[in-house]
Symmetry: C2
Subunit: 423 residues, 2 copies
């Protein structure tokens, strides 16, 4: 098998952060994909913007290096300003390539900002095909954001439109993602491959519920409903609060038994420093009288998440837009039922998995109905967790994902390279 | 039959505006309900905030008076500031009652601001039951607005919560409306009656498509898709634009045949003075390359609307939240198929009407699919329009609505008045 030297661009978010507090789906995707590609003999350098003056290139697995590149200040920078330092990022990569004497066969960009960096890199690596994974799409974010099209956003959409034309190939994370790229960005269907994310089934596995509850300090008598994700309006957490309120009005006995745990968001600081969305949710918690039934748990590292999943009765993903929804896969891999809105990429798995329930977005009554069904379905917890067997059948391991991605890479180097790589 | 003297409070929006440009569902509801109640022998005074220094009490039908009351400046005032003048409004009504020597049996309030006025009126009319029709709910608006809970909004939600407790009875416009009032505002189910709006089947009736197209100046060869409503984010017009774009990518031949007409919004002024949402949509129209396929028609008076409905292939109501969605009823009454999101109150009619199609909100691909089906279903336009017969069967006339509302009024005056009216 041919092995490739891959430049993986993760400009705006450092994938190694999943070992700390940040557990975003994109970071998991980039890191796990890179590791799995490396296991198959490819060599991966992940480039990310340096946010700590002391950080250095580090080997994070055999054949996987994480290389921080100085670009802009050594602090967190708002997404709306990050495009200002893309040029520095590209120059930094070129400098690294010279000093390390390294060349790449493939440029694989994650998120549009990395795409912009990738386009510039083509000047130095003109024979390397440019692959694009958007992760989220500006046009779809706008649809759910309910805000005016700001200048910044217009910039992002124009950049994505440009990248859709210029990239040699696009990897979409789900059928829905593919459809929107195809229809809204005018991309020919054959220029897009759908490759869903995977899950590390060694980490995300069934664990005894009581063991898991003990590990996270949860009351043995409580039934936990779990949310995992960033605290952002498009995650629809307010809808979940409404649903919980409705659940309790409809089933008053559950009010003493059921708790909603929100994993995500920085709750380590004073409340006055909380994000706008977290403050809004905190107000809503009180407005709906859910003070004791909703717990903000804060961010948790990736290796602690299996305990949260396994301690819970279900994961709820009430998003207004979700390119895929990797946390749903993690929960299913632990044998935990998932309620997801119809807008997530994972919703297509509904036909395959009896542990996945699909509801319309923004419909707290439907969500409450579905939560009540799972909470009162006692057989659900008696049955043996067949889920992992089903998963291996569906090939959702990262090795499987990496093989598919490598096949996309390989297509550029089989025959008629010039034709394929030509713009 | 007993006849009642009803104080109809429409503080923030003058129902007579439907004869001009404003065609909001609430104005239609208050005016048509009042006229229908009057026909049944009741006597209705509609009080509204005076926005023109010259306007005077006017008889708008037999037994229906519209009485403008000075409260705040004689200009349009932002909804967020209107609560400041509720007190003046109440004093003005008291003054009118003294000079006119009139007393009321019922206080029926529309929208929470009128509810606040109604609560104050109880001091003068302690024996009159207070009836509340919310029309829209602050908590549901917040759910779709994707904004932080601002102070104003918090005020509205608290007011609605207070009114839910203090009103003697609540009239909900749909089953969904009732559910949300019951669950989110903690109102006992038996304190809420569901009475859907009606439609004036004499005005909204089938008309020959070519006659209708001629009346509105539409190209005979174009197939029209129609949107009717206020230009506001929660109406989901951006989602409709995306769907149109998708429709054209999937069916390129339709691009020369199909036009989307947007009825609503003030487009009479310079573009620089357009509302933020209208500007956003104008940008989106260009971004998606729909310059010639989307037409902003502007506001149209109620009596012109039947021509727009009849000239169209379908009405699309892509709202994120809609207490009922009276325009859908108007379109159906003209025999025009309607695509509505699952969040509208009218969605429950889907089982009854083959001309009503329900899709999830925020799902342009589903919307495009549904539009394509209607546009390519040629038998749809050959079949005789049975819709009016079906409607009379379903009793959606305003007379039917008024009889139900009067029955709610009557419940307070049958037996045990004191017990019923007691707080």
């Amino acid at each position: 098998m041919t092995s490739y030297k891959v430049m993986m661009l993760a400009y705006h978010s450092d994938p190694s952060m999943i070992y700390g507090k940040e557990t975003g789906g994109m970071n998991v995707y980039v890191l796990e994909l890179s590791k799995a590609l490396a296991k198959q003999g490819h060599s991966i350098d992940i480039f990310t913007r340096q946010i700590d003056s002391k950080s250095k290139p580090v080997k994070i697995a055999n054949n996987v290096r994480l290389i921080p590149i100085p670009a802009g200040p050594y602090v967190h920078v708002s997404k709306h300003k990050l495009h200002l330092y893309v040029k520095d990022f590209v120059q930094g990569i070129r400098k690294f390539m010279r000093s390390d004497n390294v060349y790449y066969d493939i440029i694989h960009c994650h998120y549009y900002l990395s795409g912009l960096a990738g386009l510039s890199m083509k000047k130095s690596l003109s024979s390397a095909p440019l692959l694009m994974t958007f992760h989220t799409l500006g046009m779809m974010k706008n649809l759910v954001a309910r805000h005016s099209l700001e200048k910044e956003t217009q910039y992002r959409i124009e950049a994505e439109t440009h990248l859709s034309k210029r990239a040699n190939h696009i990897i979409a994370l789900s059928d829905k993602d593919r459809d929107y790229i195809q229809y809204l960005y005018d991309v020919p269907k054959n220029k897009i491959s759908v490759i869903s994310p995977g899950v590390d089934t060694k980490i995300f596995r069934p664990i005894n519920k009581m063991t898991a509850k003990q590990a996270i300090g949860a009351d043995f008598h409580h039934k936990l409903i779990l949310f995992v994700g960033r605290i952002e309006p498009l995650k629809g957490i307010d809808s979940l609060f409404y649903a919980l309120k409705i659940l309790f009005v409809q089933n008053p006995k559950l009010k003493k038994k059921v708790c909603l745990w929100i994993v995500g968001g920085d709750i380590t600081q004073q409340k006055s420093l909380w994000s706008e969305e977290l403050k809004k949710l905190e107000k809503l918690r009180y407005l709906l009288g859910l003070q004791t039934q909703v717990v903000f748990v804060g961010q948790k590292p990736q290796n602690k998440l299996p305990f949260y999943y396994n301690a819970s009765e279900m994961l709820v993903m009430p998003s207004h837009y979700e390119t895929f929804g990797i946390v749903a896969l993690e929960a299913l891999s632990c044998g935990i039922p998932v309620i997801s809105t119809h807008v997530s990429g994972i919703s297509r798995l509904a036909e395959d998995s009896k542990d996945l329930y699909i509801i319309p977005a923004n419909s707290p009554i439907d969500l409450a109905d579905q939560m009540a069904k799972i909470l009162t379905d006692t057989t659900k917890y008696k049955k043996i967790r067949h889920i992992l067997i089903r998963q291996s059948k569906h090939n959702i391991s990262w090795d499987f994902v990496a093989r598919h991605v490598a096949a996309v890479y390989a297509a550029f180097f089989s025959t008629a390279v010039d034709k394929l790589v030509a713009k």
